[in-house]
């Protein structure tokens, strides 16, 4: 089978006019016809929730599906720091162009120009919309909105609601959904997990779901299916993702033919609470906004025994400020993470495990007073103290990088449509806007942009082209239901000796060691060899208790880990086949003289969009060339 060259369907014309022109060129669906089209949306986070509300406001028949007990629980809720927009309220030189440029550069030139420009363009509408919904953003005394700075930017463009921005934005989208439910225009299925997507003649026509309380399997048809099911960071077992965050919806779609793009692009967030021990279930993020005021340092001396506050200034190395004087502590996430790892690798790490660096607020408290710091970060400081039993107002925080976000995801074109017609992918589940590294406060922006302002226009194109009606008695539904049910039965029947978590932890360790912050050929080949072995053992020896017809969280977990055991292998393959370094993907073999990520623009300015050929079989690496007509590719520098 040969490599395909994919068309991102980017509209012609100058960058600034593309989106407007595209909207005008898209055929409209007249208001009375919209109700004839049914849209199924998997996931109720910022992307899925915003899409559900907006599409139902437009008059489409919409059904949403979430694995949680309420649409309000989606993991978007955990985003702390903020959301970017090019409002330029602080008058500090921001513009749509600058937000676009920072995002493209931050992504290390591995994203699609036109998508990123559109994202920057609609960013301002998002803030307007959220304020109108009653999202209580932080404000100045004069009553106008406050902004703060985030990594990878030299302007203050981040809007925030204390350290709970994701929560407030999600509750905004959730309220909008509730409004539509009130009007009888939206149906939400809670505690329903998508098991498979149904494809008829290359077009997405429905989904198969399992009711997590009763075990009942159901069929749902739609004229379009939207996946907004989040990222795959939990492949690593330990991550900042929620426990139930999973890649299954996206992965099942991949196995049905949707291409998976750039799976190796994962983000390791620099400021997380370090690992405490073997029973640890997840990692907790400390918002990047802390780097506005906190200073990152390690002792100069490897054998330092003194408590942090006893270490005098001359024995501290504020390494980010030293190496990157112009961005200092606010370098992008990948750079900050890698530098923390480098410090620990040379033995300068702190704490019991030596796998941590200090994030110190002493100087900020001295400068602005404890009250000011408390107003900005109070809840984060409390959370830190609850987990670590140390007071960060007095003792510097200990932080270490952790898996946080996945830039890769299902391949989509400019319309956010995958290569399977009628299958749209939003938010973290798609690959499109962040390239090889996402800037802080851009995930919330992308999720809401996709859901509120992009999909409502682009989905109309699909319907305007005409879709034939299919019902749930179609053989494709029979087949999808049968294979889904068989898989679950098999998991219950193995009755081996080891728990699901045993395999998940084992996979996670292989991924962290070999497909983590720095990767090399040897490690990646090792991962590609080891993961199938773990997978094989899993299918022979996993033990899942409980039954099919009742709430069975062990079965749910097994079903998701089975997918992680496949996706992990693809991530390693993708990383191996991209021998350049870019953004979060750092190959030891490809560094500049100053140990920064060195891209290979000549050979790798493209998206790798993988095509599934069978479990354990070598997948096909399709390519979408990335064309940069408006920005010049440069070595990313934050010095």
């Amino acid at each position: 089978m040969s490599v395909k060259y994919l068309d991102g369907k980017v509209p012609e014309g100058p960058l600034k006019d593309k989106w407007n022109k595209h909207k005008f060129d898209s055929k409209l669906v007249n208001p009375s016809n919209k109700r004839k089209f049914k849209v199924l949306i998997v996931g109720t986070g910022l992307g899925g929730g915003a899409a559900a509300a907006t599409l139902s406001e437009l008059g489409y028949e919409v059904e949403s599906f979430t694995i949680s007990d309420s649409a309000r629980r989606a993991h978007s809720i955990a985003a702390q720091g903020g959301i970017n927009a090019a409002k330029n309220y602080p008058n500090d030189g921001d513009s749509i162009w600058r937000l676009f440029y920072d995002t493209i550069k931050g992504g290390d030139y591995r994203s699609r120009e036109a998508n990123v420009y559109r994202l920057a363009e609609v960013s301002n509408n998002i803030i307007d919309q959220c304020v109108a919904q009653g999202v209580p953003f932080a404000r100045e005394y004069g009553g106008v909105l406050s902004n703060r700075s985030f990594g990878g930017a030299q302007v203050s463009r981040t809007f925030y609601a204390r350290g709970q921005t994701g929560q407030q934005l999600l509750l905004g989208a959730y309220s909008a959904m509730m409004k539509q439910v009130n009007k009888g225009k939206l149906k939400i299925h809670t505690r329903m997990e998508m098991l498979d997507v149904v494809i008829v003649d290359g077009v997405a026509r429905g989904i198969i779901c399992r009711n997590l309380i009763t075990g009942k399997i159901s069929r749902h048809w739609g004229d379009a299916v939207i996946l907004a099911s989040g990222g795959y960071g939990n492949v690593y077992y330990l991550s900042t993702n929620a426990m139930a965050s999973n890649a299954s919806a996206a992965w099942r779609a991949h196995k049905k033919g949707a291409y998976f793009a750039n799976p190796c692009f994962t983000q390791i967030h620099p400021t997380c609470i370090p690992v405490h021990g073997a029973n640890q279930s997840k990692l907790t993020l400390m918002s990047e906004s802390l780097r506005n005021d906190g200073r990152v340092w390690v002792p100069k001396n490897k054998d330092e025994k003194r408590a942090p506050n006893d270490i005098p200034e001359e024995d501290r190395d504020y390494y980010l400020e030293r190496i990157y004087p112009s961005f200092g502590n606010l370098v992008p996430r990948d750079v900050a993470s890698r530098n923390a790892k480098n410090q620990c690798d040379v033995g300068k790490g702190v704490g019991n495990t030596k796998l941590a660096v200090y994030l110190d607020f002493r100087d900020a408290i001295k400068r602005d007073g404890r009250e000011a710091i408390e107003a900005k970060y109070g809840n984060l400081f409390e959370m830190y103290e609850r987990i670590n039993d140390e007071n960060p107002y007095i003792v510097p925080m200990k932080i270490y990088p952790a898996v946080h976000y996945t830039m890769g995801g299902l391949w989509v074109d400019y319309n956010l449509e995958s290569n399977l017609k009628g299958l749209f992918v939003l938010g973290e589940a798609n690959f499109s806007d962040h390239g090889a590294n996402r800037l802080g406060a851009s995930a919330l922006m992308q999720g809401l942009a996709d859901g509120y302002f992009v999909i409502p226009y682009t989905i109309g194109r699909h319907f305007a082209e005409g879709v034939s009606k299919v019902d749930t008695n179609h053989p494709a539904f029979d087949e999808a239901e049968k294979t889904s049910k068989e898989k679950l039965d098999k998991l219950l029947n193995i009755q081996g000796t080891k728990t699901v978590d045993y395999f998940h932890k084992k996979l996670g360790q292989v991924m962290w060691d070999n497909v983590g912050m720095a990767r090399n050929e040897q490690g990646l080949r090792k991962a590609i060899e080891e993961i199938p072995k773990i997978r094989e053992e899993f299918w022979k020896d996993v033990k899942v208790t409980g039954d099919f017809d009742n709430l069975n969280m062990e079965l749910e977990k097994a079903n998701r880990v089975a997918d992680f055991l496949e996706i992990g292998e693809l991530m390693a393959r993708d990383a191996l086949m991209r021998p350049e370094s870019c953004g979060g993907h750092f190959r030891d073999e490809s560094q500049t003289d100053e140990n920064e990520a060195k891209r290979d623009d000549e050979n790798y300015t493209h998206v790798a969009a993988w095509e599934f050929t069978g479990v354990g079989k070598e997948p096909i690496r399709n390519i979408e060339e990335l064309k940069f007509e408006n920005v010049k590719l440069t070595q990313r520098s934050y010095k």
């Binding site: 907006t54 649409a71 307007d128 919904q133 959370m383 409502p456 033990k543 009742n550």
Partner: protein, 254 residues
Amino acid sequence: MSDIGLMNLKLKIWRQKNMTTKGKMVDYKLDGVSPDSSFLEMIDQLNEELVTKGEDPVAFDHDCREGICGMCSLMINGMAHGPESETTTCQLHMRKYKDGDTIVIEPWRARPMPVQKDLVVDRTAFDDIMVAGGFVDINVGSAPDANGLPIGKGNAELSMDAASCIGCAACVAACPNASAMLFVSAKVSQFALLPQGEVEKDQRVLNMVTKMDELGFGNCTNAAECEASCPKGIDISNIARMNREYLAASIKAH
């Protein structure tokens, strides 16, 4: 005595197969719990043991484990979210307990929130209340500029205080009357304090309160257990604000 620092615990946990089966308390012994583990990691540890023995693990709700998603619950020794103030169960750590302790773990109990399995309850009633009026009726596309309407910092902060609610339902579980008034009043207050919520404020409070009563939640008798158990520190003065809003709206409606 266990290994240095590790604890051995006695657990009494509510087990219930599904909504139609009767439940009961079951005793478990769990050894070797690290004081650095979170409370939920302690239950994970128990569940690993149960699965290995071929038993059904204890079902409990949890997700973000950062105290923000509102998924985790649990009555721990009779206290919603356990003994630590303004802390969700997922953020409670085992260092708060000592070797040999007995810990009683039960689900939220309130008629409008039935147990689905073990420690998992159905909180759909909260969504139903939100559907009745927990929103600003504005469609995407029609919003004015975000800075077009300045909002005083005081009210913006009070609104944010109320908006911090994570919808976990500890307030209902802690209340002797199973009242949902802290939850409802937090949403009513968030909007009542902002100009964006002003337009529909009368209808909103009437509809939400009516729905709350309809669903079978009890009334407020100022026990203030809700405030004491709220992991986000939602202030009981929100209930007073809701009552004022409700009274004003009722008078206007007549």
